[in-house]
Amino acid sequence: MLVVKDLVKTFPVRSGFGFSGPVQTVKALDGISFEVARGEALGLVGESGCGKSTSARTVLRLTEPDGGAALIDGADLFQATGPDLRRLRRRLQIVFQDPYASLNPRRRIGDTLAEPMKVHGIGTPKEWPGRVRELLAEVGLPAEAVHKYPHEFSGGQRQRIGIARALSVGPELLFLDEPVSALDVSVQAQVLVLLNRLKQTRNLASVFISHDLGVVRYFCQRVAVMYLGRIVETAPAEDLLDTPLHPYTQALRAATPTPDPNHKVTMARLTGDPASPLNPPSGCHFNPRCPHVMERCRVEVPALQEVAPGRKVACHLMDGA
């Protein structure tokens, strides 16, 4: 239902003291494409600064894109204006990592949940309290929550409020931007189970942004791995985690700790920090850290190509393999 094509987003960056220096541009998204089917969860993984959150914000036009298209059932979100844009946006909602920062501290929960319905003209003011109660019940919060303020809730409960707010306009797809990263393990599991139930009962599609491969494996059917603004591998979740093909995905998987003392994390598989997006390496962005780097990788950008049904990899190693 959602098709994102060649999405490009650049940010101007001023360097120098007092930001008076010359303007440089950072290519946060360098032509990324992905699709999400109805009811499907797509995981978007990668390390800080790789562009995963930016892709969500750009598709939703929370920041304006610099190129590409985002189609919802064929209608281009980037061309739409006014009422058309509002109608399309209603179908896509977002849940942020830090529920405390994304809830108005001076507003009662009932008002926070009714607000999106007001904005989108859903139902009548008389119907709103009833809908708010239904939403609270759906995310497992008591009805009394209506009269309370965000600070009266724990982190897990606040995330439930964030989810209820996203659901209030009846979206078909949720962008979940690290929705459980700030939570303790036992609370994280509660929220994941809730999201999984909503996925099924509402047939919700989602783009699940996370750096935690375990969480992604639990929640997502398909995964796309990003590195410095590009997608380097996309595959069904099980395949990607059991037999990663791109050297970066392999390193990511090997560095992910699992609660099994017989399989300790492979230490120091990758040397160095990720390169700066301000000054990305030529060719394949991963080449300075790649254990299999070849001459070609430094000059030629590898294309994302299909290597098996449903599996795409952007790596020169795949040629002739």
């Binding site: 393990v185 609660p259 920090d273």
Partner: protein, 335 residues
């Protein structure tokens, strides 16, 4: 096979019956209750638990860094390299911190001074504890920066913290912590804010330094995956109590306390086909609501009448050095 009886080496860090109080709204609460564990030289012990379980407070008690007036060690003993540190006057404690026992934290940016070059900050420890100054200190700082694998150290020694990435900042913190070859390193979630590939590098660095210097490491974390990778023993805390302590292999094979077992079932794993995740119901009670007796009783699937009495540490798992604080299997409360 020869029958060699290993000589008993004294632990580098020994915590015995440590009880730490926090004063909240004028009332003292036991936020850490009777915690005991030992860390041997070269050993890594993981202190595991969720927010508010008392793991960081335990570390602060060891370091003598409890907030004045609202936090204090109520009873118990902490020995570092054989020296009792509970009740030590602040002046004497300052001679130990950074010297005999060091600590690294989750967010290096908040522990580094943003307006001083990193080289200067690393040198501070050397000036204070080793009396090094000038060129000698600078040479030693460079050696330390190389030791923690900061590339181009000669060029970066006068850079400021904001010019370093998160992983490099944590390396700077580690350089400061190991400058005086401490016997004990307390690491409080040092990799939690880092990306996994950088986390792996930092864990690797700590292990290398430990192998060279023979430090004892107390590694505080909520991440059971990290525990499995680095620790030889696990101490699990809940509500200020040690609820389970075990060698790492036995812990993951036979987690015995209902909390540990439930925690392991609630971690989604990257290495396995997901079975149904089983969250622990409810949330950790606040210090005001903390039940008497077993502190996990309000969320436990196996709760019994006897749980209103605080269980002692009883044998658990499959080995004698595996213990848990739970009445399970002893419904009458008999020992």
């Amino acid at each position: 096979m020869t029958n060699v009886v290993p000589l008993k080496t004294p632990p580098a860090l020994a915590v015995k019956d440590l009880t730490t109080g926090l004063k909240i709204r004028g009332i003292w609460h036991q936020a850490v209750r009777g915690v005991s564990f030992e860390v041997m030289p070269r050993e890594t012990v993981a202190l595991v638990g969720e927010s508010g379980c008392g793991k960081s407070l335990t570390a602060m008690s060891i370091m003598g860094l409890l907030p004045a007036k609202v936090g204090k060690v109520l009873s118990g003993s902490v020995t570092v390299d054989g020296r009792e540190v509970v009740g030590l006057p602040e002046r004497e404690f300052e001679g130990l911190r950074g010297n005999l026992v060091s600590m690294i934290f989750q967010e290096p940016m908040t522990s580094l001074n943003p307006v001083l070059p990193v080289g200067f900050q690393i040198a501070e420890t050397l000036r204070r504890h080793r009396g090094l100054d000038g060129a000698a200190a600078r040479a030693e700082v460079l050696r330390l920066m190389n030791r923690v694998q900061i590339p181009a150290s000669a060029r970066r020694i006068d850079d400021y913290p904001h010019q370093f990435s998160g992983g490099m900042r944590q390396r700077v913190m580690i350089a400061m912590a190991v400058a005086c070859r401490p016997k004990v390193l307390l690491a409080d979630e040092p990799t939690t804010a880092l990306d996994v590939t950088i986390q792996a590098q930092v864990l690797n660095l700590i292990a290398e330094l430990q192998a060279e210097d023979g430090m004892a490491v107390l590694f505080i974390t909520h991440n059971l995956g990290v525990v499995a990778s680095i620790a030889s023993r696990v101490v699990v805390m809940y509500g200020g109590d040690v609820v389970e302590t075990a060698p790492v292999d036995d812990f993951f094979q036979r987690p015995s306390h209902p909390y540990s077992a439930a925690l392991l079932k609630s971690v989604p794993r990257a290495d396995r086909r997901p079975d149904s995740l089983e969250p622990i119901p409810g949330q950790v009670p606040t210090l005001f609501q903390m039940p008497d007796g077993c502190r996990f009783q309000s969320r436990c699937a196996h709760v019994m009448e006897v749980c209103t009495r605080r269980p002692p540490l009883l044998p658990g798992g499959g080995r004698p050095d595996h213990q848990m604080r739970c009445w399970l299997g002893r419904p009458e409360g008999g020992l």
